[in-house]
């Protein structure tokens, strides 16, 4: 049964539907594999075999019937409140049926565990969490990415074939990139979001899938969207590239891998590459940070900040207090920048079908020192990563990250594609074309922790 766990999401679902795999045995195998591999990863922070068994017993004949999945600690479950990777949240949480939970349940999926995450969703590395750091399956001394650290590490290590994360400033795409997965940040409002503690307030956060390849990502996206995302042709793709910090202040390995991937995508689709201009990208990044910070503090009373849980990290304590000092005028200005960027993007997407640039400027940094060396100097990974991710959250457009290579240290490198509002399907089609042109080389590469078991099996 361990071999079935190494199949992708579609193949597991098909094997169960075809009677080749018993879903009860698959669930047991997933739980056993979590027990075996998770100690080195800290990807899954809680399992609940009885609840998982109940989900399986009640699973309808949906597209994921009997398939084990992991869900991020950002979503409530009927038997568990989310902790958001933190000792304390500014907003009370309670157990309940979140949108992603309902979508998974109604598709017949079996939630087998809760995935670790960066504390309060406030980091791109996954090295800070109330549960302890999650580890990257490609190198357990490296960051798995955040904030959806556990979901990504779970899929990369083949504990499960699919996981649900959330993306407010790149939190699906960073861990997808660091862990060699495909991750989609859907168009704002398109994926299930109910039950999230910030759902009534946020204008940036979306739920999103993390899977080994595009086909699996399409399937899990269809479940989260509540509609089938059909396959199309990304023929004659007009690919926009930006000659700016986001694509140029990257390591040589990242730059070369992404340039090669863009050229491969162009050739595969018979398309063309066009240079586009997106001025004020830095301002857009800051605007997204200011807006998400102000939204996250809505309803927070100053006295709450004098009674913070002592188990919150010093970074979280200081950052929460600092957010109270951010000037309202800057947030108002951020909204104007948002409007300006949305209009600019709408014009850009008249000229190109997708915008391509690296998801991350450097591969996964060390857990104990998440810094990256770039042509412009040494930066924290958070500082460097966010500038390539924030635009999609600020404006609402969809974005996908996919693996396009491995570094000399055998760490994944990733390309990000962005499309106009509602055109998530085109992103999947384009990513699938690139995946096909690459002979599925990168999506089928396995981290050492998963390779060892596959060889044994």
């Amino acid at each position: 049964m361990t071999a079935a766990l190494d199949l992708g999401l579609r193949a597991q679902a098909a094997a169960i539907a075809g009677g080749e795999v018993d879903p009860g045995e698959l669930l047991d195998a997933a739980l056993a594999r979590i027990e075996q591999r998770n100690p080195a990863l800290n990807a899954v922070v809680e399992t609940f075999p009885e609840r998982s068994g109940e989900m399986l017993a009640a699973a309808p004949e949906g597209p994921l019937r009997g398939v084990p999945v992991v869900i991020k600690d950002e979503w409530p479950l009927p038997w568990r409140a989310q902790r958001f990777g933190a000792a304390e949240l500014m907003t009370p949480t309670s157990p309940g049926e979140s949108g992603p939970y309902r979508a998974l349940r109604d598709a017949g999926a079996v939630i087998v565990g809760v995935g670790n995450m960066h504390e309060l969703g406030a980091g791109s590395t996954g090295n800070v969490s109330v549960y302890g750091a999650a580890h990257n399956p490609w190198n357990t001394e490296r960051c798995p990415g955040g904030s959806s650290s556990g979901p990504a590490a779970s899929v990369a290590a083949r504990l499960v074939a699919g996981a649900v994360g959330a993306d407010g400033l790149g939190s699906v795409r960073f861990p997808a990139a660091y862990c060699g997965l495909t991750g989609l940040k859907p168009t704002f409002g398109r994926a299930a979001m109910e039950g999230h503690h910030m759902a009534p307030l946020t204008t940036l956060i979306v739920s999103g899938p993390l899977c080994a390849d595009v086909g699996d990502c399409r399937l899990l996206s269809s479940v989260l969207f509540g509609e089938e995302l059909n396959t199309g042709e990304a023929a004659g793709l007009r690919i926009g590239v930006v000659r700016d910090t986001v694509s140029e202040d990257v390591t040589a390995e990242v730059g070369e891998a992404c340039e090669a991937a863009i050229e491969t995508l162009r050739a595969e689709t018979g398309g063309e590459v066009r240079e586009i201009s997106l001025p004020d990208l830095d301002a857009a990044t800051l605007a997204a940070i200011l807006i998400i910070n102000s939204e996250s503090m809505s309803g927070t009373r100053p006295e709450q900040l004098n009674q913070l849980d002592p188990e919150l990290s010093p970074i979280a304590r200081g950052t929460l207090k600092y957010r109270m000092l951010l000037p309202a005028a800057a947030t108002a200005q951020a909204q104007r920048v948002r409007t300006s960027m949305r209009r600019r993007l709408a014009a850009v997407f008249e000229e190109v079908d997708v915008i391509a640039w690296p998801t991350i400027p450097a591969p996964a940094p060390p857990l104990d020192s998440p810094l990256v060396e770039l042509p412009s100097g040494t930066h924290t990974a958070d500082q460097a990563n966010v500038r390539g991710a924030a635009l999609a959250n600020l404006t609402g457009i969809p974005s996908i990250s996919m693996p396009v290579g491995l570094s000399d240290e055998r760490l994944p490198l990733a390309l990000q594609l962005q499309a106009t509002w509602g055109n998530d399907e085109l992103l999947l089609d384009a990513a699938e074309a690139l995946e096909r042109a690459n002979g599925r080389r990168w999506v089928e590469s396995l981290p050492p922790i998963a390779e060892a078991e596959t060889t044994e099996a």
């Binding site: 168009t187 704002f188 409002g189 398109r190 204008t203 004020d280 830095d282 301002a283 800051l286 605007a287 940070i289 200011l290 100053p302 006295e303 900040l305 004098n306 010093p314 970074i315 304590r317 200081g318 950052t319 207090k321 600092y322 109270m324 000092l325 951010l326 000037p327 005028a329 800057a330 200005q333 951020a334 909204q335 104007r336 920048v337 948002r338 409007t339 300006s340 949305r342 209009r343 993007l345 709408a346 997407f349 500082q383 404006t395 609402g396 106009t420 509002w421 509602g422």
Partner: protein, 66 residues
Amino acid sequence: MTEGKAQADEFIPAGLASLGIEADEVDLAVMGAVHGLLWPPILELLALDTEDVEPERCPDLSRAPE
């Protein structure tokens, strides 16, 4: 002492005091670091000329702007 550090040393304690928020040395050190990263770009953001940007009323983030 750098100008930014000096600004943080004044701005942060004063801002916290005005809100009645307590902070220990570790909190202040974290806030000082965050301030050093965020404040210069905030000043640049505030200096951007956005007078010509007509605000979107109740923007629908799931769609292109009208």
